[in-house]
């Protein structure tokens, strides 16, 4: 039987606000335990929550970015359960009426093997505001568990998708797209190591061609795309094997172990809490007006989709190139800066996606930390455009700039890479080559097209690569009467 995997994601994005969602305590990461735990964070008797408007603005930004309905009147609810790092004994979240309703994002799934790259729309079910819990710290004090409430009350936007993804690759493409989007609109720093962006992945399988969803298991707290890929692939295989062996899937929460590459059930849903959600009487419903939305919209950067369309129309880029360049705001900014500094758009796009990306990937650097700046790249591309250097020579110059050997013109001079475009000098070289390669000339005249290319090669070699290839071509044709 052929199986189909069905995947939906729930992503907790930590919002980039200075203070917590319901108090004035700082949200900075990495401070000494409980130094950012005010009376509200500790949940002392008598304290009350006050909603941080900045967190609401973040939610509106996200809603606008995924073309979602933004609920005019959403409600905060209490999710009740006991846990030592949950100081109130309930988490303030949103339940029946989330701030962001249905929306969608378009993802680019990269080519894999013989399957080409493709685009796909992933539907967003909802996104809601909630507070994070604190942390239990085991082992800091011998024989005891410690509680650090610095993180308690940090604002989160939980983004939930429809079960729209059909492979680990699609899930990872979505997660990457979302990861980039929340950074693009400035609501999340995207730091996965510090837990600013954490994914829960719901996985189920069903016979291909059937509609009914299989029983799902939820892989909790994945904080790297690599682990997500591995976890989904393992989980999918495990579920298919279990069913093919005649077993059944129990709804469960599972954890991924990066050391073994396996998923393992943490608790089954039968033991799950009844969270006794009810509207939080300490908070008024959250009202968002058209004016609020307009105000947030006005302050938002150009979104990837709009920028992609603009790159196609304004710069004449292909849809693929435009999508690749706008997959990251930093990459897009770098590209735009290169063009603004005087480079032609098409070669700029090729270089950003080609040489620049390759070097960054090899050295695991972000484009914002690129040793070759957009202005430097532009001056390099200008030297190609004005025939000062050939494309091949440009690659050497780029490498040298990357290694900090100086600016473009100085490197060209130092390495003697300047292209020869003097007609007389080129003619002299060609005459020399024709004289030395009479046999090839004969072959060409006998109709062997290949011989022409060989002669070009000889001429370039004779010029030590510096002759302008176009000129060489042209003059050779003239001399051979072709």
């Amino acid at each position: 039987m052929e199986w189909e995997v069905v995947i939906g994601l729930e992503t907790h994005t930590q919002l980039q606000t200075k203070t917590k969602i319901f108090s004035g305590a700082s949200t900075a990461f990495g401070s000494e335990p409980n130094t950012q735990a005010c009376e509200v964070s500790i949940a002392l008797p008598g304290v009350l929550p006050v909603l941080n408007k900045e967190a609401v603005n973040c939610a509106i930004k996200f809603g606008l970015a995924v073309n979602a309905e933004i609920t005019p009147r959403s409600v905060f609810a209490r999710k009740n359960y006991f846990y030592p790092d949950l100081p109130k004994g309930y988490q303030i979240s949103q339940y029946e009426l989330p701030v962001v309703g249905k929306g969608a994002v378009t993802i680019q799934v990269p080519a894999a093997g013989k399957n080409p790259a493709y685009e796909k729309v992933v539907n967003i079910t909802r996104a809601h505001l909630e507070e994070d819990a604190g942390k239990s710290v085991h082992g800091a004090v011998e024989g005891m568990s410690g509680i650090d409430l610095n993180r308690a009350g940090t604002p989160l936007l939980e983004i939930v998708t429809e079960p729209d993804m059909r492979s680990a690759a699609e899930a990872v493409a979505y997660a990457k797209k979302l990861h980039e989007l929340v950074q693009w609109i400035g609501i999340c720093d995207g730091n996965m190591q510090e837990g600013s962006f954490r994914c829960d992945v719901n996985v189920s399988v069903r016979p291909k061609g059937t509609d009914k969803l299989g029983t799902r298991r939820e892989i909790k707290n994945l904080n790297s795309f690599k682990f997500m890929q591995q976890a989904i692939e393992f989980e999918t295989r495990w579920q298919i094997e279990t069913l093919e062996d005649g077993g059944t899937i129990q709804q469960a929460t599972v954890l991924f172990n990066p050391d073994t590459g396996e998923t393992r059930a943490m608790r089954s849903k039968e033991e799950a809490n009844d969270y006794r959600y009810f509207p939080d009487p300490d908070l008024l419903p959250l009202e968002i007006t058209e004016a609020d939305k307009a105000r947030v919209r006005a302050a938002m950067p150009e979104l990837p989709e709009a920028m992609k369309a603009r790159f196609e129309s304004e710069y004449g880029l292909t849809a693929y190139d435009a999508a690749t360049l706008t997959a990251s705001r930093d990459v897009a900014n770098y590209f735009v800066a290169t063009v603004k500094a005087g480079a032609d758009a098409k070669p700029a796009a090729n270089w950003v996606m080609g040489a620049v990306s390759a070097k960054l990937n090899a050295e695991e650097k972000a484009i914002t930390a690129s040793p070759v700046s957009a202005v430097q790249l532009a001056s390099l591309l200008k030297r190609i455009a004005d025939n000062t250097i050939s494309n091949n020579a440009a690659k050497q110059v780029f490498e040298a700039m990357w290694d900090g050997e100086g600016e473009v013109d100085a490197i060209i001079d130092a390495k003697g890479l300047k292209q020869v475009s003097d007609a007389g000098a080129i003619e002299a070289i060609i005459d020399e080559v024709l004289a030395a390669n009479a046999a090839m000339v004969e072959e060409f005249k006998a109709g062997k097209e290949k011989a022409f290319n060989a002669l070009v090669g000889q001429a370039m070699k004779a010029s030590k690569g510096k002759a302008n290839p176009a000129q060489v071509n042209e003059m050779l044709k003239k001399k051979l009467g072709a």
Binding site: P45, G46, G89
Partner: protein, 494 residues
Amino acid sequence: MINSSLKTLGQMLAKKEVSSVELTQAFLNRIDTFNPEINAYIALDQQKTLAQAQAADAIIAAGNAGPLTGIPIAQKDIFCASGWKTTCGSKMLANFVAPYDAQVVTQFDAAGAVNLGKTNMDEFAMGSSNETSYFGGVKNPWDFTRVPGGSSGGSAAAVAARLCAAATGTDTGGSIRQPASLCGLTGLKPTYGVVSRYGMIAFASSLDQAGPMAKSAEDCALMMNVMAGFDERDSTSLNREKEDYMRDLNKPLQGLRVGLPKEFFAEGLDAGVGAVIEAAIAEYKKLGAEIVEISLPNTGLSIPVYYVLAPAEASSNLSRYDGVRYGHRAAEYTDLMDMYCKSRAEGFGAEVKRRILIGTYVLSAGYYDAYYLKAQQIRRLIAQDFEEAFKHCDVIMGPAAPSTAFKAGEKVDDPVAMYLQDIYTISTNLAGLPGMSIPAGFSTGSDGKALPVGLQIIGNYFDEARMLNVAHQYQQVTDWHARMPDLPTPQGTK
């Protein structure tokens, strides 16, 4: 002096006829004498109190005194007060010293008032007799065998016995008005959102409201001038302009339309109480009021609705008392769950546990719609009843409680009988309306004891100034509010 109004005390302090330290000491002496018997206070700290009195005297000397500067008041032990033990009447918080001030405490501190101590109360404000307090019951100053009402029983007894000049209370279903009625005081529960709840330990967040308990309407107005006001730390606090609650006290009542809800005078009302209320209504007629019969048809549903919603909120509000960060933790436990269970089993009393269980039940999956959601719908109907009634009248009057003070122990084993104590007060909390109780006379029971009876005045939203006016005018022509219980001299004192 201990019998003087807040206004008179303020004048005496201003004229330096008495210092705040002397006045405070006089109340502390009475507390020393009578509190061991009455048990109105949970926490006392003479040093802190006298330091505040000294500071007040300095403010008075500098000519910067406000109306309450130097006047000793008592705070219900539901308000966090920095450096004070703040127990909420529970073993759970028996050793909890608040590290911050409730907004109400901050406001009285800013006004220069002196805090005499923290008053006794039903545990987490759950009770109508003060008998659920971990720190023991409070005796009604009018008859030591009887309860003072609750949950603000300590504040009520302290004011009635003149163990403070005035006190704060909180009212979730009648916890200011019922003890005010049973102890012969004037008590006001303001419109929901008028007084900040920040630092006031939550029982049922959508119903809790703090207010003054004092000897007269004028005293309550002075207290309200300090307590009321917007607080950005309480999202349910209403951002309205500051008002002067004294401004309308002296307006004549000619043409005032008084609504009498027929449901407040039906079965369940003690005959003696009913007679006192009728006499009070007659007095209002003399003052020029016009009587209108009205109906609040859903009154009977207010108790069941309340005992779904209040426990639901309480079950969640009290989850933070888990023994992890502060409060009672069991001495021995085997694991986390055992620590939770033992700490909460030991730290909470029976009535609190009863309400946590009810609240947990009504919020549970499968029951939520039938209980919580349905109760919210009826709550809206109850508010609509009042909305309709106020089309026909300016204020609503009736009894504050169905009976006078009952005997200690009489209702402890019958929760429903206890809950019925709040039959006339609960609906105003559900609607968020302001209500008050003022002394209207005495009813003599079978044992020959004359016990105070409270007249309830319910106003429309934000009509506190008018209600205080209505009460004050009555207090100009009657002296029920000025009566003071004869306290038996405790044995062993001279």
